[in-house]
Amino acid sequence: MMTSKMWVTMGPQHPFSHGLWTLKVKIDGEVITDAIPIIGYLHRGWEKECENRTYPQIIPMADRLCYSASMTWSHVYVMAVEEALGIEVPERAQYLRVVADEICRIQSHLMWLAAMGTDLGNLTVFLWSLREREMFLDLFVKLCGQRLTTNYPRIGGVRNDMPYLFERDCMRVVDLFEKRLWDIIALMDDSAIFLSRMQGVGRISRKEAANMGLTGPGMRGCGVNFDVRRDDPYEVYDLLDFEVPVHKDGDAYARYAVRIEEMFQSCEIIRQAMAQMPDGPVRIKVPRNVPAGSHFARIEDPRGEALMHLISDGTDKPYRLKVRSPIFVNVSGAKRMVLGTRMADVPAIMGTIDMCLGETDR
């Protein structure tokens, strides 16, 4: 039968795109035969702007790089600067950073879970996971004073010590969350409809994933056993005991399962870090000028491997700051992931990538 194919432009204002990007798909009936991702709608020249700001001023800017994982981005920025300065952060600050990172990871994954729920047509998952997310945002409010843009790490430590009773709040939230997450899992994993939507959809092989540069849960869903936290440890992650979940299938369900398991592991990391946390100072004074040189730091963002490459020239402003965003690379493989699937699968596949366009377009 002869069928004519048509181009459908999904975006920039489209409910499936969490953020602002466009996926042009060529469909034959419902099956996708070609796809072109278009990004850049949020491009603001972040790296260029940083060349005109002093080092501390960039920390809140780094928060706005990826709005749902702001903590990790400012963290990787200060790590790059500390690498260039060659200073060691106080141990308590390292633990605090780890705790804040993991809270950030959980709330980012919950935001993803919510978006995934709406992509698959269920509003209950959206609201339940946002309800759990509020608990972690409340922790952020107590710790840093803002819900999303934390502005918490500082060059040479963190902004402030834990507030009064923060440890107790943290433990309570983590315990409650672990209990409540099973409700959402019952809604997603025990439902034949969700499983049939996720299993076998958007399959990526390990080789393709490596070649595309996929990182994060997308990569671990393809059977790559690698995690920057464990294999290239920074801060105090080498003192903590946690598992890196790996799934062999490489489909949407695998990425989903990896993220859910990561949330459980993050809870465990928060518990251990809180238990092991030593007393001491949380912030040291650093010089305002950074010696010239080229340094980089990488970190495990909730979405993948975040890398910042800093070139300093001895002044109080960076000469060049390059951001390696995980989603920028992951989304470049969007074409390969959606080819041959149906139109209804596009939200399911793109949902498991966990788009965040702020860091992609920079």
Binding site: G45, N52, M212, G213, F226, F296, L307, F328, S332
Partner: protein, 157 residues
């Protein structure tokens, strides 16, 4: 590459040893740290070097490619990583200002594709053999290269 051994997860020492053996004077080792190797290479052999790193040393992933404008010359910085022991290689390649060309590594790592497109539109460095060298982030009617140091933002004026 035929005739070479395959190293699944080479250590820092192995990386320096092997690259030194193979490329000799073309590639200089600027230094090394725990799990980090810093190299600089000439732009003639960068494709060959990257292919060797990918095929033999098994660095499956190109983490990041960034351009730097040093005003006197441009520079490409490659960050390559593997999936096994967290070793990363940083390669610096100098490009003269009057001939902004370098070989594309997209045929080796597909993940480098968009990084190169981005560098092209922001710095104006042209990548040979790139499959689709077009503007990616900025609107298609931009004529300038915003990340060059010669382009000043309002605050810097």
């Amino acid at each position: 590459m035929a005739g070479d051994d395959f190293y699944e997860a080479p250590t820092v020492e192995q990386v320096i040893q092997l690259i030194g053996d193979r490329f000799g004077g073309d590639v200089t080792v600027r230094g090394s740290k725990e799990r980090r190797v810093f190299l600089s290479a000439g732009r003639e052999r960068i494709y060959e070097l990257c292919e060797y790193i990918h095929d033999v040393l098994n660095f499956e992933q190109a983490s990041s490619l960034s351009g730097v404008d040093w005003e006197t010359h441009m520079q490409m910085v490659y960050h390559l990583s593997n999936y096994y022991n967290g070793v990363m290689i940083e390669i610096e390649v100098d490009i003269p200002n009057d001939d902004l060309r370098v070989d594309s590594v997209t045929p080796i790592w597909e993940g480098a594709n968009w990084h190169e497109r981005e560098t092209y539109e922001l710095f104006g460095i042209v990548f040979d053999n790139h499959p689709q060298l077009e503007r990616l982030l900025t609107p298609c009617d931009y004529e300038f290269f915003p990340f060059r140091k010669s382009y000043k933002l309002r605050r810097a004026e």
